[in-house]
């Protein structure tokens, strides 16, 4: 059963088309992340689902009810914003109660729900405080609580962790995941530009670009089998290596870029199999191995170290393979300096190959 479905959604501001013919089905209890760079329309889509923006065309269903023309309060949603958006003159308790008072929920029921939300989010000692007296993490907890007390089926998160520092972000991320696991049958739609949040939280990720969904799949598929070049480049940090070249099909298909030839017999081509032509070969830095580990890999090459970026747990090495930039990840303890020559290797089966013209996965 679909919890939220968006059908043929169009949205334009004057002549500018922000969302075009967008379709999305979200299952009950699913955690869906809308991921994209700024300006891709992900927040806009969330606002449309919330009813905060009037859509130009299409339909929106929440819990199998057509809510296209309904007010936000009648859609059965709770929403959490990036800037917390707490009412500054009310206490935490007042913030939590505001929506319920507007809905004329009986007083004892309001108290019961606030107590439950406060306990779930560990904000009981803060109930009498004003938002100004809270830290960023506490504020965002209260904001989540405000959505929680509404007792709704669908939660909408609009970049809720983007205003927090890195440590708090990691803490709250886990807390949101726990919350989702505890609230069974609660659908969550989560907008972010942070791929780590997306990968860690999502059941499914929808990668958006210029108002359209590029790929909608579970995190593993998005990571391993990106649908097009944009998705491959967007997901993964450090980002994937791209090498432009051509496919030649003799007995076995091979990829050629300059003097480098990569055997593609192990690569799982989609559709009709390999066709000769211009392509982009993509291999992730973490799938490239060095020295001893490289010896068993089907493809091997010698490269010169150009730049070394130690990050503690691991080290990112920049080098060039036949004029193409090649980044790879090695253990953080590996001693390396500029100018060292090392052997690297990888398995082409883990690569992604895209048509140079359509940028689609082959």
């Amino acid at each position: 059963m679909a919890s939220v479905s968006v059908k043929n959604l169009d949205l334009s501001f004057g002549d500018i088309k922000v969302l075009q013919n967008l379709n999305l089905e979200i299952d009950k209890g699913e955690f869906l992340v809308l991921l994209g760079s700024s300006g891709c329309g992900k927040s806009t889509l969330l606002n449309c689902i919330a009813g905060l923006l009037d859509i130009t065309d299409g339909q929106i269903f929440i819990s199998d009810r057509n809510v296209t023309w309904e007010q936000p309060k009648d859609r059965g949603i709770g929403m959490v914003f990036q800037s917390y958006a707490l009412y500054p003159q009310m206490t935490v308790e007042g913030n939590l109660a505001f929506g319920l008072k507007n809905a004329r929920v009986p007083k004892d029921e309001i108290e019961k729900r606030i107590a439950r939300a406060a306990q779930l989010l560990h904000i009981e000692p803060l109930l009498k405080r004003k938002p100004a007296q809270l830290s960023g993490g506490q504020r965002q907890r209260v904001a989540i609580g405000r959505a929680l007390v509404r007792d709704v089926d669908v939660f909408l998160f609009d970049e809720p962790l983007s205003n927090l520092d890195a440590k708090l972000r990691a803490e709250l991320r886990v807390e949101i995941k726990r919350l989702h696991q505890r609230l069974e049958n609660t659908t969550m739609i989560y907008v972010t530009h942070d791929q780590i949040e997306a990968m860690t939280l999502a059941d499914r990720i929808a990668i958006m670009r210029a108002g359209a969904i590029q790929q909608l799949a579970d995190p593993a598929t998005i990571y391993n089998k990106p649908y097009n070049r944009y998705v491959a480049g967007f997901i993964g940090s450090p980002s994937i290596n791209f090498i432009d070249g051509t496919i030649e099909v003799a007995s076995d298909p091979v990829f050629k870029a300059g003097d480098t030839t990569i055997d593609l017999s192990r690569y799982a081509f989609s559709g009709n199999g390999p066709k000769p032509g211009a392509v982009t070969f993509g291999i992730r830095p973490e799938h490239i191995f060095m020295d001893k580990a490289a010896t068993d890999e089907p493809f091997r090459a010698d490269v010169e170290v150009d730049v070394v970026e130690p990050m503690g747990a691991d080290t990112l090495v920049w080098s060039t393979l036949d004029g193409h930039e090649l980044r790879f990840r090695v253990d953080g303890q590996t001693p390396l300096r500029k100018g060292d020559r090392v052997k690297v290797g990888f398995d082409p089966a883990r690569a992604s190959i895209f048509d140079a013209e359509t940028e689609m996965r082959l």
């Binding site: 606002n47 919330a50 905060l52 007010q71 936000p72 309060k73 949603i77 709770g78 929403m79 914003f81 990036q82 800037s83 917390y84 958006a85 707490l86 009412y87 500054p88 003159q89 505001f98 929506g99 507007n102 809905a103 904001a143 405000r146 509404r150 609009d158 150009d306 730049v307 070394v308 970026e309 130690p310 080290t315 001693p335 390396l336 300096r337 500029k338």
Partner: protein
Amino acid sequence: MADVGLIDHAGTDARVDSKALEGPRGARPRRVLSRRNIILYGTLFVVAAYYLLPLYVMVVTSLKGMPEIRLGNVFSPPMEITFEPWVKAWATACTGLNCDGLSRGFWNSVRITIPSVILSIAIASVNGYALSLWRFKGANLFFTILIVGAFIPYQVMLYPIVIILREMGIYGTLTGLVLVHTIFGMPILTLLFRNYFASVPEELFKAARVDGAGFWGIYFKIMLPMSLPIFVVAMILQVTGIWNDFLFGVVYTKPGVYPMTVQLNNIVNSVQGVKEYNVNMAATIITGLVPLIVYFASGKLFVRGIAAGAVKG
């Protein structure tokens, strides 16, 4: 960045003996009596004195008797302090047929100012709120028309409004004048409130909508409590503006309900009898007292209001 693969030495963290530090160190020293400061404060002092001198003359003169004033020593302090002129200005000075001093005009002004201020701020704040947060169709056009209103000289509208008020049957009454003040306060106040509400985070407004608050709910429960400063600023603008108004007062009211400013003019400019400078001075100070108090009590907020009026979004 390239050579950090091998790290084999630890940075020494010993503090250098502080006596060993030579040359400039710590905060840069400042001289209190530098040439720059003398010029700066000297100029400020001269300008302040220049502005305060007339006020000094007024206060001093209002406390003198007529014989002393005739001596012509404008700047000298009173030899014999008398409050007679103040009492006369407030209670017995004559304008036309009425001889009850400025007190009549004072209460008229109070009765004009209070409803005008409340009414204009109430309407303008809702205008500004609707224009900045509930962007309805034609909101920009409506706003433009309202702002253009601020640029039309009052003189152009003077007579048409006389006719309108006459047709409505409220010409020459306080009601009519309150209405005029409310309307003329609209453009600038709406602009003030619109800009203030435009600076309120939009997400707050969205959150309130998700929480089920409507147009008035958001206005009264969310926006009003968090925008008290701008209301105070609007109040200052309106109280001083309306209290000091002369033109509308003299055009749209009749002698019995003249506001204080008009009555002051009539006292000071009366052509009969002796010119009682001390009474005139006292009357002027009394009239200016209300805006003066408002300015003094709210100096900081007033400056903030002027800054908030700067056009945004």
